[in-house]
């Protein structure tokens, strides 16, 4: 057997094994259907929570299916959080009627609730401010950095996670436009 023949044989064997492995490692049909797992990561269902606004109104994330939801975890002492709030407010004013909901989850366990409420009133924020008093949502969403923002599609699946800030208004616009394609006003 010549060197060229040996190499051709080796190539054919390697590529054939590759085809077999591609077929063996394809994702089973059952797993394709069962893609609804929960985790604070892109591609997973957003972990559910129910929190109260400063006025005592309870808002549950899973009740918002059909809407495009932005969950923004913030604190009043966090400068990037403060900087991105006006942009969030503008986007909310523009797109709430098309099915956008912004849930601004205040990390109250590491913030002064009075400061947080005063800040939201000073800015005239019209989307719900939710108080995460015991830090359970921060924990469930594995909060590593403030602010952290989760873009959630109308099916409840996380479309993107943005760590840190401030987020550019253009970024918000592009992401919201994408999410609103399937949202119900």
């Amino acid at each position: 057997m010549t060197d060229a023949s040996r190499w051709n044989f080796f190539t054919v064997v390697v590529l054939s094994l590759g085809v077999v492995w591609i077929w063996m490692s394809k994702v089973p049909h059952s797993e394709l259907k069962d893609a609804a797992k929960t985790a604070p990561q892109t591609g997973f269902l957003a972990p559910d929570f129910s929190l109260a606004t400063p006025k005592g109104e309870q808002i549950k994330l899973s009740d918002q299916r059909g809407k495009a939801v932005i969950v923004n975890i913030w604190a009043s002492w966090c400068l990037p959080c403060r900087e991105e709030m006006p942009a969030l407010q503008r986007i909310y004013e523009e797109s709430a009627s098309q099915g956008l909901l912004i849930l601004a989850v205040n990390a109250t366990n590491q913030d002064d609730p009075e400061e947080a409420i005063k800040f939201s009133e000073d800015l005239g924020l019209s989307f719900p401010i939710l108080l995460d008093i015991d830090g359970s949502v921060s924990s469930r969403y594995r909060l590593q950095s403030l602010p952290t923002t989760f873009f959630i599609d109308p099916g409840g699946k996380i479309d993107e996670v943005v760590l840190g800030g401030p987020m550019a208004e253009a970024l918000l616009r592009v992401r919201v436009e994408r999410l609103l394609k399937d949202a119900k006003p």
């Binding site: 490692s25 394809k26 253009a170």
Partner: protein, 246 residues
């Protein structure tokens, strides 16, 4: 998983830092061994840096052009630090074309230049997989093996570690300081890297839990890797023939 490194009051994005350190180490290695390919190190580094810088700028402007209406409302966001405002495909295309034009103008032969840049690519591959480990992206399929890691609620294959280890093994095997590297034909060093990297991706993608899929569950990266592997093996075969004829 550690997406953010807290240093005093600063929250540093660890995945981005890892990639930047990988780029720096890779280019340092390339600079050190460029002379083995009979190339001037500064020209090779300039080629890489031009590609990187033009790629980053183009990927931002490409993104802006694709989403012009969003930026008309807030034009200063063109200069935003947000990493989500880049178009990687346009960036890679423009970066490669800019580097190719620069290399041609400087009379750099393209096969030895690719060989000289290979160590940078090999180190960058390791850094990229480690950045995935830091961010929790590119996670593995569920598994109960002893070395599985807890990620996103369940125990999974540590696919990022598999991929980083494979990339490290490729770098060690193709270490540019080895004597046998200098006896290769121009371009062969790069093709060997592509062959090994494609084989590694083809195998290890099977343990990924987030692959892009075709209908029927076939993994797109595996099919792409198979095509690259086939092309590389054929190219290597032709080079062996050339050597034998000599």
């Amino acid at each position: 998983m550690m997406p953010v490194l807290q240093v005093g009051p600063f929250a540093l994005p660890l995945p981005v830092l890892t990639v930047l350190i990988g780029l720096w180490l890779g280019l340092t290695l390339t600079e050190r061994f460029a002379a083995r390919n009979d190339l001037k190190a500064d020209l090779v580094i300039n080629t890489a840096m031009l590609g990187l810088i033009s790629g980053v700028i183009a990927s931002r402007f490409g993104y802006v052009l694709r989403h012009l209406s969003a930026f008309i409302a807030s034009p200063m966001d063109v200069f935003s630090r947000n990493l989500g405002l880049f178009d990687p495909i346009i960036g890679i295309a423009v970066g490669v074309i800019s580097s190719a034009i620069y290399a041609q103008r400087k009379d750099l032969r393209w096969l030895p230049t690719l060989d000289a840049l290979t160590p940078a690519l090999a180190v960058f591959a390791i850094a990229l997989h480690l950045s995935h480990l830091a961010s929790g992206e590119a996670y593995g399929t569920p598994s109960n093996l002893a070395w599985s890691i807890e990620l996103w609620g369940i125990r999974r294959h540590p696919s990022q570690i598999y991929e980083a280890a494979a990339a490290l093994a490729i770098l060690i095997y193709l270490w540019p300081g080895r004597k046998n590297v200098t006896s290769l034909l121009p371009g062969e060093y790069f093709i060997r890297f592509m062959t090994l990297s494609a084989a590694s991706l083809l195998f290890l993608e099977g343990f990924r839990g987030d692959s892009a899929l075709l209908p029927g569950g076939l993994r797109i990266p595996q099919i792409t890797a198979w095509l690259v592997l086939a092309t590389s093996l054929v190219a290597l075969g032709r080079r062996r023939q050339k050597i034998n004829i000599r």
